[in-house]
């Protein structure tokens, strides 16, 4: 069973995710960032499901393991589409929604194919290996896409503070996860140590999004040039 600290982090993170959805509803941002909020709601549902499976079958059961990795893969795909919805916000003036949707599905299919080719050699539990590999690869693809989106924000001089903070926090989240999984692959013997980072990293998105929805109004503006690491 998970320890006291893990349980506390688990509950706290879930409550924070609920808080994000409530904040978005109260501040009228739920429909504007629909997929982001649906992702948060799906994450809460996945946690409830994981808890039920955990209490029913036990922490070390294969049922829990399968449920954990499969739900994680689905949530990662959900987050990937949440990211593409932010693309749609940034490019809304250019009527590029169809292009963004088409590109997102194509890239997802490409990532899935690449993940399949990587795990093709392993005979045992290939589907499980595939979903784990797909999640890890999607984190990195998501990171690159967030960086491209950030570059587009700077280029197009997008100034909506709320949108900018949502994108930046997503970038921080994806890069932390991609770095953690890369470390895990580099040092497989220390795998459990690196996996213990995942739970605290899970706080990044709900904390940042709760702040963005609660504290920032949709019409609040910021000069993107102020945010560049290298001043322009």
């Amino acid at each position: 069973m998970p320890g006291l600290l893990e349980n506390f982090l688990w509950i706290a993170c879930t409550l924070l995710e609920v808080f994000v959805v409530v904040c978005a509803l109260k501040k009228g941002a739920f429909r504007r960032y629909l997929i982001l909020n649906l992702y948060m709601a799906a994450s809460v549902l996945a946690t409830v499901g994981r808890y039920r499976v955990l209490t029913h079958y036990g922490y070390t059961s294969s049922e829990y393991l399968y449920f954990y990795y499969y739900s994680d893969a689905l949530l990662t795909i959900f987050l990937y589409f949440a990211l593409t919805s932010l693309y749609a916000h940034v490019f809304s003036d250019m009527n590029a929604n169809r292009l963004v949707r088409f590109g997102a599905v194509g890239l997802l299919a490409g990532t899935a194919l690449f993940s399949y080719l990587v795990v093709e050699q392993s005979n045992a539990r290939m589907i499980t290996h595939f979903v784990v590999e797909l999640s890890q690869n999607l984190y990195f693809v998501g990171l690159v896409l967030t960086y491209v989106l950030w570059a587009a924000i700077m280029k197009l001089r997008e100034s909506r503070t709320q949108l900018i903070q949502l994108v930046l926090s997503l970038g921080v989240y994806f890069s932390l996860l991609a770095a953690t999984y890369a470390l895990r692959n580099m040092f497989p013997s220390k795998s459990s140590l690196f996996l213990s980072f995942i739970q605290p990293i899970g706080f990044v998105l709900p904390l940042a999004w709760a702040y963005a929805f609660w504290k920032l109004s949709s019409d609040q503006l910021i000069s993107p040039a102020r945010l560049a690491v290298v001043s322009r």
Partner: protein, 133 residues
């Protein structure tokens, strides 16, 4: 090899996103003027400097915490530590980076002073409510 490349890319992107995110938090408070009272308490009368940050942070700890600014202050503190690291390493040999870190450290100090102002105002409100009750 592949994992190594992904790790290096991820850390590079992480730094960029983290710096930009912290700057977006700081930018909101940069426009806010400090009251005379907070200027007196913090010693920030004209422009803030990075050296003020630790002192203002100590003053912040004297005020009752509000959960809504705790996370932001923690993020900026991590950013300030990162700036200190850059200042004591790369900035020693690159003057432009040194100027940049000094500017950013000063912005962090100003952000902390604005947070202090908010906490003082919040404490006053709470006290007034208690007096009324």
């Amino acid at each position: 090899m592949m994992a190594g490349i992904i790790f290096v890319c991820s850390v590079t992107f992480l730094l960029q996103f983290f710096v930009s995110y912290c700057r977006s938090l700081i930018a909101a408070s940069a426009k806010q003027p400090l009251s005379l009272e907070v200027q007196d308490v913090t010693g920030i009368t004209k422009a803030a400097s990075g050296e003020d940050f630790a002192r203002v942070l100590q003053l912040l700890h004297l005020c009752p915490e509000s959960p809504e600014d705790r996370t932001r202050i923690q993020a900026i503190r991590a950013y300030f530590r990162m700036l200190n690291f850059v200042r004591s390493t790369i900035a020693r040999i690159t003057p432009s980076v040194r100027a940049w870190t000094e500017y950013e450290r000063a912005q962090c100090a100003y952000f902390a002073a604005v947070a202090l102002e908010r906490r003082i105002a919040c404490s006053r409100d709470m006290l007034a409510q208690q007096m009324d009750a």
